[in-house]
């Protein structure tokens, strides 16, 4: 799925979600009392966002898997404002992102999939009823799976890894529906930097245990899953 297709699907899905359950959330009581004023309707405590994250991996380790430095993932997150004031809100939440890239690498098909599951620490600042800026810090657990499918081998070569990762980002959210609605629909755009430790990329054939001594390893350049990234998405708040 291309980056643009993913974005379109996300936008359509969120628009449908926003139209249906708006009234259901009207009677929700705040879990924590507001401090210092009344937040705008629809900028409520709970936010669900679905979008696309594109990371830029500049190192040579990503070269086998993509003809560009861009790596796109589907991104989903949910956050809850634990502290809400007139313009400021502090939220915590969870983040889940997944995606893959593949390319021909000297006759072998190289594929990389990355999955990130993390927690969110989020600070929101309302600029007005239609816009707010957001800063996020997201420690995460990053798992990766890389395969190298060489037609000259009866089995694919594989490499898996899991590691810690952390993202720091800032962005802008623009409200798409009327401020008076209980459910807010927001367009989200943010950029930041994601860091994770460098991974050695030594591929071994995916063989049964009994056959593993029959195969040699193939080593590709170390992969550093870190770099600048941006996210685009749609968010629902209530």
């Amino acid at each position: 799925m291309t980056f643009i297709e993913t974005t379109k699907r996300v936008a359509l899905g969120l628009a449908l979600l926003a139209a249906g359950p708006a009234a259901a959330a009207d009677n929700l009581a705040p879990a924590i009392e507001q401090v210092g004023g009344e937040p705008a309707p629809g900028s409520g405590r709970f936010e669900v966002t679905v979008g696309v994250r594109t990371s830029l991996f500049k190192g040579a380790g990503f070269d086998p898997f993509s003809s560009s430095d861009a790596f796109s993932q589907t991104s989903a997150r949910a956050s809850w404002a634990v502290l809400q004031r007139a313009r400021w809100a502090t939220a915590v939440g969870a983040l889940f992102e997944w995606g893959d890239a593949s390319a021909d690498a000297r006759g072998a098909q190289a594929q990389l999939s990355l999955t990130r599951f993390g927690v969110l620490l989020e600070e929101r600042l309302a600029l007005g009823p239609h816009a707010r800026v957001v800063g996020r810090l997201a420690p995460a657990w990053l798992t990766g799976r890389a395969t190298l499918d060489d037609p000259s081998l009866p089995v694919a070569l594989g490499r898996s890894f899991s590691t810690i990762a952390v993202d720091a980002s800032a962005g802008v959210e623009a409200r798409l529906n009327a401020p008076g609605s209980t459910v807010g629909v927001w367009a989200v755009g943010e950029g930041g930097y994601g860091w994770a430790p460098t991974q050695t990329m030594t591929f071994t054939p995916q063989l049964a245990v009994a056959d593993r001594d029959k195969a040699g390893a193939t080593t590709l350049p170390d992969f550093a899953p870190r770099g600048g990234f941006f996210r685009l998405g749609l968010a629902l708040t209530y």
């Binding site: 000297r106 009866p154 070569l157």
Partner: protein, 533 residues
């Protein structure tokens, strides 16, 4: 608003894609030319401008070492010892704004004779302003000669008679440019003569064949003027084109009997050039003799008979061989049982060490069924020629004869092309053991140790090894189709078979060559993906 979001996504996506990409080499095919050296299989990865040397450890594990080559490799060659690979690169001329720097022509040498492959590069910029695209190696391994082969188009203006002689024993190669004196011809083939005893001492001659003359250049003294021999009178309307050149030193104790023999395309004559003493700067001069052998010969060879040195010419149209006395040009015709087209000397090595011993020749490549091969005992060729031939019944046409080195030098491997059989010929017993193959068009690879012959059919995953001494066959089934087979020495002092699988990517299977067993095979994949620069 959705359109705005899409536009923004498009813009950011475009921005991301524009933030950089991978080097183009990643998208290029993993095709390589493979060369077997003593202890390494060297893959010339043209698309990545590098060579990858695969070496094996005692347990069959492969290690890959990558070395960058010069730009635009125009010729490659492996020396006769199988120890070194030579790559001649044309270099690069940087234009305005060119991101690639200027690069002079160079000769890169990959040495695969040790446990770890090494390289060295000889800069040819001092003698070559325009690149040459031909490369010929002296069988002794001392010289490399560069010439204009014309295969790659060459420079805007090329002097085809310009050669560059590189002394491979010199640290910098000491390249010397030589311009041959030409009567209008251009070099077509280079032949390195074995060491000859000439009046000036031991000499290594380079014989440069053109369509109308021969040039004799002393490689030991490339600064000396070459001797050019015209192959026809200046007034002749046509000139015979050389088809084959053979050289013989004669009696090693004499310095006046070295000879060069020639046959020509569509010509019934053969020529001998005796290199006799002279008072010129070279100390010798070639004296030609021309003899008509009654038909167009298909092969010639200098042979030692009971009557002395002769130039043997096979005349397949007449089912005969003609022995030419190079001193008198007298001929002896020997009727053959078939129209053999090829001749190989198979004289036992102990007999060759004495000048009085006569040669034994193997005649092959007969056109008729049942032609097989024939042993020609040249010790009886002059006196009783009719008793000098002994045929070995082989029902298929023998298309090539493979030498067996070291441990089984009294054997030859005979290929029959697509006939589904090959033979191991025992020269001592005069027997030919047939080995049947399920596939046709098999490739045969004799191990450098002479112990066995490997058989495979390109595109199939079966492989077989045949012990040349016992004729025992062991068939192996690999996991992927085999496209090349090389037997190399490994780091443990043993032998490793490397079977290549060039099937889009490039993989390999290694086996213990001495005692191959699928259970102990090792497979390796994406060999050219690994280490891509």
């Amino acid at each position: 608003m959705k359109m705005s979001l899409t536009s923004a996504a498009l813009a950011l996506g475009t921005l991301a894609l524009g933030c950089g990409g991978r080097p183009d080499v990643w998208s290029r095919p993993a095709s390589a030319n493979a060369y077997g050296l003593s202890n390494a299989v060297v893959l010339h990865d043209v698309n990545a401008q590098r060579v990858v040397a695969l070496t094996a450890s005692g347990d069959g594990a492969l290690s890959a070492s990558s070395f960058g080559t010069g730009t635009d490799v125009v010729a490659t060659a492996v020396d006769s010892a199988g120890a070194r690979l030579f790559l001649l690169s044309a270099g690069h001329r940087a234009m305005l704004g060119d991101t690639q720097k200027n690069e002079a022509p160079a000769l890169m040498v990959v040495d695969g004779s040790a446990a770890a492959a090494t390289t060295r590069t000889i800069d040819l910029g001092g003698v070559l302003s325009d690149p040459l695209d031909g490369l010929a190696l002296d069988p002794t391994g001392r010289w490399a000669v560069l010439y204009a082969s014309g295969v790659h188009g060459g420079a805007f203006v090329t002097n085809p008679n310009e050669l560059v002689v590189v002394d491979l024993t010199a640290a910098d190669g000491a390249p010397v440019s030589v311009s041959l004196h030409s009567f209008g011809g251009r070099p077509e083939k280079l032949v390195f003569a074995p060491e000859l005893s000439l009046p000036g001492g031991k000499t290594h001659l380079l014989i440069v064949e053109s369509e109308q003359d021969l040039s004799l250049l002393e490689l030991d003294h490339p600064d000396r003027a070459e001797i050019t021999v015209r192959l026809a009178d200046a007034a002749a309307a046509t000139t015979p084109q050389p088809a084959e050149i053979v050289v013989d030193d004669g009696d090693p104790a004499r310095t006046d009997d070295a000879r060069i023999g020639l046959r020509f395309v569509n010509d019934t004559s053969v020529m001998t050039l005796q290199l006799e003493p002279s008072s010129g700067a070279n100390g010798y001069t070639p004296t030609p003799n021309v003899t008509d052998v009654g038909g167009v010969p298909s092969a010639i060879a200098f042979v030692r008979t009971d009557g002395g040195l002769r130039l043997a010419a096979l005349v397949p149209g007449h089912d005969s061989a003609v022995l030419v006395d190079p001193a008198t040009t007298l001929t002896t015709t020997v009727a053959l049982p078939a129209d053999y087209r090829s001749i190989s000397l198979v004289t036992p090595s102990d007999a060759a060490s004495t000048t009085s011993s006569a040669d034994t020749a193997l005649l092959w490549n007969g056109d008729a069924g049942q032609a097989g091969v024939a042993f020609w005992e040249l010790g009886q060729a002059a006196g009783r020629p009719f008793r000098s031939l002994e045929t070995v019944a082989i029902t298929e046409r023998v298309t090539s004869v493979l030498d067996v080195a070291k441990t089984n030098t009294t054997s030859k491997v005979l290929s029959t092309g697509a006939a589904g059989v090959f033979y191991v010929l025992d020269l001592a017993q005069r027997t030919a053991t047939p080995l049947l193959t399920a596939a046709t068009n098999v490739s045969l690879v004799v191990s450098p140790t002479g112990t066995r012959v490997w058989t495979f059919a390109p595109g199939q995953s079966d492989l077989a090894t045949t012990d040349i001494a016992t004729k025992h066959v062991r068939t192996l089934h690999l996991d992927a189709a085999v496209t090349g087979v090389f037997e190399i020495g490994n780091g443990g002092g043993g032998r490793t078979l490397v079977a290549l699988h060039a099937l889009g990517g490039l993989g390999a299977t290694t086996l213990d060559a001495t005692n191959p067993d699928e259970d102990h095979r090792k497979i390796f994949g994406a060999l050219l993906t690994e280490g891509t620069p």
